[in-house]
């Protein structure tokens, strides 16, 4: 099993519903393979295997909710076109847990970026993880927080390197990382009270 699949399964801890759904699908595929064994064993097993594969590698269509927005969950993305293997969309209170799982699996934090979606009145926080010393795997963890009260838990206790990335994101977006040891301006002047990357920022 590839490392991307390993970490995907480890991260499924965050989404019990999706895990359950996948377990059901897998069980159904197994039963189908077993019951039809007598008629034409090989073809059925092949079909079941193919089904398993599509389930694991194809972005899950059920993740799209009715209004076109994405529901929390994990999807496998095409590395060639996106530059990432696994894409996790979680609730703001799950980023620390996600970081813990990734830390346990030997990943390191590449960077944290904020994105201001002013039309939807929310901010996106994207955590990029990668792994060294093994097969290539890039994991994206993303979450949305409200624009009026931008608060999210810090992961700097798990990854000390996140300290500066969070301070930088606080500089640019005004996101408050709850529990951060020192949320002072890093790149902006020490008395800066503006957040230049917000789309409604006027210099």
């Amino acid at each position: 099993m590839s490392i991307a699949e390993d970490i995907r399964i480890a991260l499924l801890d965050l989404f019990p519903e999706q895990a359950e759904r996948e377990a059901k699908k897998r069980a159904a595929a197994e039963i189908a393979a077993r019951t039809a064994d007598e008629d034409n064993p090989e073809a059925v097993i092949e079909a079941a295997a193919a089904e398993m594969e599509t389930m694991e590698l194809q972005p899950d269509a059920q993740e799209e909710s009715e209004d076109g927005g994405r529901k929390p969950g994990i999807v496998v993305t095409d590395y060639q076109s996106r530059g990432a293997h696994v894409d996790v969309f979680c609730n703001p209170d799950q980023v620390v847990e996600a970081a813990t799982i990734l830390d346990r699996n030997g990943f390191f934090l590449e960077t944290i970026s904020g994105v201001d979606w002013i039309k939807e009145d929310r901010l996106e926080v994207i955590y990029d993880y990668s792994i060294s010393g093994s097969e290539l795997c890039r994991v994206v963890v993303r979450t949305f927080i409200s624009r009026s009260e931008p608060k999210i838990d810090t992961i700097s206790e798990i990854f000390p390197g996140a300290d500066w990335h969070e301070r930088e994101t606080h500089d640019f977006y005004g996101i408050e990382f709850v529990g951060h040891p020192c949320l002072e301006p890093l790149l902006l002047p020490e008395d800066a009270d503006f957040h230049p990357l917000l789309k409604d920022f006027k210099p």
């Binding site: 990432a84 960077t111 990029d128 990668s130 060294s132 890039r138 000390p160 390197g161 500066w164």
Partner: protein
């Protein structure tokens, strides 16, 4: 030697290193809490040349941001050109002609040697050796002349275009590059290694100093020679192959000592590997166009994209968020020394001030890239 002298806690004092200090190579300030000659706490203070490149990216179209990339890491500007070009090409689905890929690799590797030469010169200068700087600048000058010939500039290159490069290379460049490789190879053992690497004073100041464990590298996200000097073989060129790197035979130098000397040796060995790549690329250089036909105004489909390259200092990545418009909706620049420097505070604790300066030099800081 590194055992702190027992003092009363109230006997510490604050020492400002920088923002104008020869050893910080730019405008980095480190707020040091000192106990005599020993560092109790080191706090880097950044932002003195912060220019908000990420906001500038959102203001113009995709092509207009290319010159900015060279102004982050001005020593390995072409790699930053490459990283940004790769990201946009991935987003817009642009294919690059093979000859252009080869030229990209050749120029990026030449630039990497120039960057390492300058690091070497400045590093030895930090440690008190002046003469090596003159030798290294002598060699680096040849690279600058070669690159000026094809790119039109000497330092802040804007040579890459989406779908290729701006200018083809000519025979004179190829001959000049081969002559340069021959020259550097002959000078490397005598001048670089005999004069400096095997020098007992240099070794005493680097060996066993500034130990960074592989676990610390991971926790702080350190990459590049810092990580490879800690025994982890991680190089984007090998681990996440891009461009035509998989076609070349080269090695990733790894040292397991985790100290400043290990990082020094990684960079010295990398120059030889870069020369090997350039030789192979020049030998197999295919004919053809150097630029694909690409619309002037790009409008990549909405979504987010990531691409990374290996620069002289580590992994440089761009996270690009597009909304279908002609400008990046958001461009996050992941610069390698930002992460590499963030572990300075932890490692420098309990170090002698003089050792900390050597250790800082071994991280190869380029301040404009940290501050962006």
């Amino acid at each position: 030697m590194t055992v702190p002298i027992a003092c009363r806690p109230d006997e510490t004092f604050v020492l400002n290193l920088g923002p104008q200090h020869p050893a910080t190579h730019g405008v980095l300030r480190v707020k040091l809490t000192m106990d005599g000659e020993y560092i109790v706490k080191a706090e880097p203070v950044l932002g003195y040349i912060h220019r908000m490149h990420e906001k500038m990216a959102e203001a113009g179209n995709f092509a207009q941001f290319m010159p900015n990339t060279a102004r982050m890491d001005y020593l390995h500007a072409l790699a930053f050109n490459h990283g940004y070009a790769l990201t946009v090409e991935r987003a817009a689905g642009i294919e690059v002609p093979e000859r252009a890929e080869y030229i990209r690799v050749i120029t990026v590797e030449l630039n990497r040697i120039a960057s390492h030469l300058l690091w070497w010169a400045a590093f030895v200068l930090d440690l008190g050796g002046f003469t090596p700087l003159l030798y290294a600048f002598d060699d680096r000058e040849i690279i600058l002349d070669l690159l000026e010939r094809v790119t039109g500039s000497r330092l802040t290159y804007c040579y890459f275009r989406f779908g290729g490069v701006y200018n083809d290379i000519d025979d004179e460049f190829i001959e000049g590059t081969l002559a340069f490789i021959k020259r550097l190879r002959s000078r490397m053992p005598r001048i670089y290694h005999d004069l400096v690497t095997h020098n007992i004073i240099l070794r005493k100041r680097l060996e066993g100093i500034g130990i960074i464990t592989p676990e610390q590298c991971r926790k702080y996200g350190a990459t590049g020679p810092v990580l490879r000097g800690s025994g982890v073989s991680y190089d984007i060129r090998k681990n996440e192959p891009y461009s035509v790197y998989p076609e070349f035979d080269f090695e990733i130098p790894v040292y397991h000592e985790c100290d400043s000397m290990a990082r020094y040796m990684v960079r010295m060995d990398e120059m030889e590997q870069s020369m090997r790549i350039i030789e192979q690329a020049l030998e197999r250089l295919p004919e053809g166009p150097v630029k694909a036909k690409v619309p002037k105004i790009l409008k990549p489909p909405a979504g987010d994209y990531y691409a990374a390259v290996e620069t002289a200092r580590g992994s440089f990545g761009c996270r690009l968020v597009c909304d279908g418009g002609k400008a990046p909706y958001r461009l996050k620049l992941r610069s390698p020394t930002f992460s590499n420097l963030s572990l300075f505070g932890e490692v420098a604790e309990g170090m002698l001030l003089a050792d900390a300066l050597g250790f800082m030099g071994s991280l190869d800081l380029v301040i404009p890239e940290i501050d962006r």
